[in-house]
């Protein structure tokens, strides 16, 4: 496909992409620096279409944020509370069961379960949590716990990471989300989330999880204090691990929302940055199958546009997203399946409802 670039420097990147050559760190930085948003989008769109054609995926899912009590208190987080703080909550296993049963008539295919590091919870709670979810929703996939939680659970259980994962797997864990990565870099770690596991540990746990045969996603929280170079390094770090394990399913760029955090002076990301992050991910992560446009963070309107800038997945219908909305997200609280399909169709793509592993959901009874 011919592309008329406004920024001729993108021609070099495009020819590398056409030749199947891996993009370098310098290429990655240039992707963020160029002002030719449409030229960049066209390259990413070319890659996206050669991988997924006209398909755009979404999943019917439910989020369970079992507690907001967290001892880490990362500076970018508007969700966490101390144990005795106003608004702190922890769901009992019964409450979780009730929440699942409330929506039992809906065709939920995935439970996305993440929460804070709550010192009042025991390892048994998490085993019970998984078993209960599996009992109530035997046909839905459990995608639960970021590396941050896995690290913490292994300490609660006094087990190795490998043993911890095995226990969780036996109780029903089938997949893991990609959160807690933030920016994989010591400087950012020190400044924003010093109590959370560092990037070496995050990568070590991901490697162990992949080796245990559990697929995960990967994320990047952008738009706070990170530099462009740090973003690109983050992507390259993920690409290297993926070369080793092939355990990552999707990459999800997460736009930082500052409201109610300790970083309220930071202004929200703009659309150009959001779209560039999607395109950069598609182009740099040549060994990742899927790039998500997470509509909760960038809004439904821009997520729809992002399908033409490298994204092939709009994530979930999500009826009760809490974490980003606490930080001032203006997106809807949930989208229906019809809204999701309508958005995709009107963007010129074919909607495919998928399960956690990107298999299309076949409608029952034809």
């Amino acid at each position: 496909m011919d592309i008329s670039f406004i920024d001729k420097r993108l021609e070099g990147i495009y020819s590398k992409v056409l030749n199947g050559s891996r993009l370098s760190k310098e290429d990655g930085i240039y992707i963020y620096e160029t002002h030719d948003l449409i030229g960049l989008g066209q390259i990413a769109n070319h890659v996206r279409r050669s991988m997924h054609g006209n398909k755009a995926f979404y999943i019917y899912n439910q989020h369970l944020n079992y507690t907001n009590v967290c001892k880490n208190r990362c500076r970018f987080c508007a969700y966490a509370r101390d144990r005795k703080e106003k608004g702190a909550y922890t769901w009992s296993i019964e409450e979780i069961e009730k929440r699942l049963l409330e929506r039992i008539d809906e065709p939920v295919n995935e439970l996305h379960i993440v929460g804070g590091l709550n010192e009042a919870l025991t390892f048994d709670y998490f085993i019970d949590l998984l078993k209960t979810v599996k009992k109530v929703r035997p046909n839905a996939t459990i995608k639960a716990f970021t590396c941050v939680e896995i690290d913490y659970l292994s300490k609660l259980a006094k087990l190795s990471i490998k043993q911890t994962i095995q226990k969780l797997k036996q109780a029903g864990l089938e997949m893991m989300p990609g959160g807690g990565a933030e920016i994989l870099n010591s400087r950012i770690h020190g400044e924003l989330f010093p109590k959370k596991i560092n990037h070496e540990r995050w990568l070590e746990i991901m490697r162990a999880v992949h080796e245990a045969g559990i697929k995960t996603n990967a994320t990047m929280l952008y738009g706070h204090i990170e530099t462009i170079e740090e973003r690109v390094d983050h992507l390259i770090t993920l690409r290297q691990l993926q070369d080793e394990t092939n355990g990552f399913s999707a990459f999800i760029p997460l736009a930082f929302h500052s409201e109610n955090t300790k970083l309220t002076h930071i202004q929200s990301t703009t659309a150009v940055d959001d779209l560039k992050n999607v395109a950069a991910a598609r182009l740099m992560l040549d060994n990742f199958d899927h790039i998500k446009a997470y509509w909760v963070m960038i809004g439904e309107k821009l997520a729809q546009v992002a399908l033409s800038f490298g994204a092939d997945d709009l994530d979930g219908t999500i009826i009760e997203e809490r974490i980003t909305h606490m930080a001032g997200a203006k997106s809807a609280l949930g989208l229906t399946k019809e809204q999701m399909e309508d958005m995709i169709t009107k963007a010129g793509f074919e909607p495919v409802e998928r399960d956690s592993f990107y298999n299309p959901i076949k409608e029952l009874n034809g």
């Binding site: 948003l37 066209q42 703009t270 150009v272 959001d274 309107k301 546009v305 309508d342």
Partner: protein, 352 residues
């Protein structure tokens, strides 16, 4: 009909495409193909990396309207009891505040009040001009048409009187879709498409510039969009009076038309097509009021070279359930972050 490739070739070599070619391109090309063509056109007409905006305020002198358009959530009828005509004090306060905020113009628009005749409008303009040095961009064609009929004057006479008392330019509102089959259904009491165009023709002949708008996403079909743009382009060939084209999407909340709101991709495609189609209108304006900040910024790569107004006050679209707010600083940030130099402009797109 030409194949898609031929149409793209014509666009790329700066040849005019007709409305059928436009429709074919719109239907067949994907989002980024249209974006790329529009973006190239944008830099063809505006090679400098500048995005303009205007600091002004919408002043709606009355919300009482005899027109009763089905897409409108702003108007009230005379007997509903919650109608207003702006008081002189409110009017002056609003204008003073606009000037204090660095504003250069007011957009003066209102309902078609059944009891107001040309004397009211003359007094309104005089009052403003006697007290303030500010550009008055006011009275869309349906208002001019209404005032003329109400006062038994011709369009030309009405415009002349208003111009003499201080009206400088005409907003392009009330165009909706310039096809009478659509207008009869959505705004049966408003001026016809020919009357709308005639007001603009007369205004341009009296050296009053105007903008042009299109409200889409209600009951029109794709071909109506191209009929609309074709009529505007033909008039522009004649008069060269239009400064800018502003497409925006119908906001269905609180109106009598029940349709799904157009999505951002549909908006961006129409916006891009407008840049591709209008080879004789200089400026294309993004609509943050209907699209929000993210899509408005994205629109700068889909043909738009102007962000419109900082709008200290906006009431009409807000009544239909949209309440995007964008302070001047944020508008400037969006433009800058997109890699453009933000520049305040006047009504004629002169940089200030």
């Amino acid at each position: 009909m030409d194949s898609l490739h031929n149409i793209i070739e014509r666009v790329s070599t700066q040849k005019r495409i007709d409305k059928n070619e436009g429709l074919a391109l719109f239907r067949q090309a994907d989002l980024l193909t249209l974006a790329s063509l529009a973006n190239q056109k944008r830099f063809h007409y505006h090679p400098e990396k500048i995005v303009t905006y205007v600091v002004d305020r919408n002043i709606n002198y009355t919300n009482i309207c005899a027109s009763g358009c089905r897409f409108c959530a702003f108007f009230v009828t005379h007997d509903m009891g919650n109608g207003y005509i702006i008081s002189k004090k409110d009017l002056f306060d609003k204008i003073q505040e606009t000037l204090d905020l660095g504003g250069t113009q007011i957009l003066l628009q209102g309902g078609m009040h059944p009891n107001l005749e040309i004397d009211y409008y003359i007094d309104l303009l005089k009052d403003i001009k006697e007290n303030f040095d500010i550009h008055i961009h006011g009275f869309s064609p349906p208002e001019i048409d209404f005032i003329a009929k109400k006062s038994s004057l011709t369009i030309a006479q009405t415009l002349l009187v208003l111009k003499k008392t201080g009206l400088s330019s005409i907003p392009g509102g009330g165009a909706e879709i310039l096809c009478d089959d659509i207008r009869q259904k959505v705004s049966p009491n408003k001026c016809s498409s020919e009357e709308w165009l005639e007001v603009m023709r007369q205004a341009h002949m009296q050296d009053m510039r105007s903008s042009a708008t299109m409200m889409f996403g209600h009951i029109e079909k794709d071909f109506h969009i191209f009929e609309h743009m074709d009529k505007l382009r033909n008039l522009q060939d004649e008069t060269h009076g239009f400064t800018a084209f502003i497409p925006w999407t119908f906001q269905p909340d609180n109106t009598k038309i029940t349709v799904k709101k157009k999505t951002s991709v549909e908006y961006l495609k129409v916006l891009a097509m407008s840049r591709i189609f209008f080879d004789n209108i200089d400026n294309i304006q993004a609509s943050w009021v209907t699209q929000g900040d993210k899509i408005a910024q994205t629109a700068l790569f889909f043909g738009a070279n102007d962000m419109g107004s900082t709008m200290i006050e906006e009431n009409v679209v807000a009544s239909a359930g949209v309440d995007f707010m964008l302070p001047k600083e944020e508008l400037i940030r969006l433009i800058t972050m997109a890699g453009f130099e933000p520049r305040q402009r006047d009504c004629y797109y002169n940089l200030l």
